[in-house]
Symmetry: C2
Subunit: 171 residues, 2 copies
């Protein structure tokens, strides 16, 4: 059954960490809705390779409208977490135990949402201490699946494993 996936994204995202999982999700029949501050805006990846048109403003959507949350990395998550609307939106998926897929710096939104205490995760090496300080246990592995709900990966090299495990939780 097709699922509706919310993707929080802004400029400076890591290009392939959005484009490759999004393509795989769509090819499996799921819908990816890109969400930022402004509907219709185009945001740019930090490598200059991928542009993404924003489908919905965060003010127009509700977490209840979606089945899962996808958080690509790069500097996008740190920019977004300075705005509590994106933090609260992320928190709602963790609280509802809906699937959450976060790669690289993606878990930064989950740290600021205070949702990682006692969870098992991985993430980009620069945020390892932040994840541990947030109460998570960190494994240096290509993908970690916690509680049949939270999928995390380290960096673009892990995209195949990240996508594979995320797709399993969408079945």
């Amino acid at each position: 059954m097709p699922k509706k996936i919310a993707c929080l994204i802004t400029s400076m995202f890591e290009d392939s960490e959005y484009s490759e999982p999004a393509k795989a999700f769509q090819e499996a029949g799921h819908e990816v809705v890109t969400i930022e501050k402004e509907t219709g805006k185009t945001v740019q990846g930090k490598q200059g390779e991928v542009s993404v048109k924003i489908d919905k403003s965060v003010d127009e959507v509700s977490p209840e409208d979606f089945d899962a949350l996808f958080l690509p990395g790069g500097f996008s998550p740190d920019i977004l977490r300075a705005d509590e609307r994106f933090v609260n939106f992320s928190k709602a998926f963790m609280d509802a135990k809906k699937p959450v897929f976060a790669i690289c710096h993606g878990p930064q939104l989950l740290i600021t949402a205070k949702t990682l205490d006692g969870r098992h995760v991985t993430g980009y090496k620069s945020i390892r201490v932040d994840l541990e300080n947030a109460g998570a246990s960190f494994s240096d592995e290509e993908v970690v699946v916690c509680g049949n709900q939270l999928v995390t990966s380290r960096d673009p090299n892990d995209i195949p494993a990240f996508t594979r495990e995320s797709l399993k939780l969408l079945q």
Copy 2:
């Protein structure tokens, strides 16, 4: 008496958070030595306004050669803290109780160095929860001076207060 200040910096730094304090330090007679991986490289600010030539590779210098540490913000600190040489270099100043000046995302290096437990700080709003999880108490003020040693500020608007308090510790 002129002091020698180490500045850890790489591309994607917040332009004015380097250029304005560095200018003030130099005008007061102090020396600012820019340090990255590669001597002679030019690094670029994220606003595209400021370029900085790297004076020394981190492999060529020792914390003992310097009187103080300056950490400008932007995404530079997060990039640098993925490399333990910059983390260890930062830690040495905290351990030696030498003056440390960190603005915006600058304190991310101090989090990864595990040096903020019990300290009083401020920083860019996106890293507030990371700072608190690291054991620091956070104040939403233009500048916080902790233990006559550690000066932190939030963002470019705070540069005058940041520079003023940093200069006091260099006297």
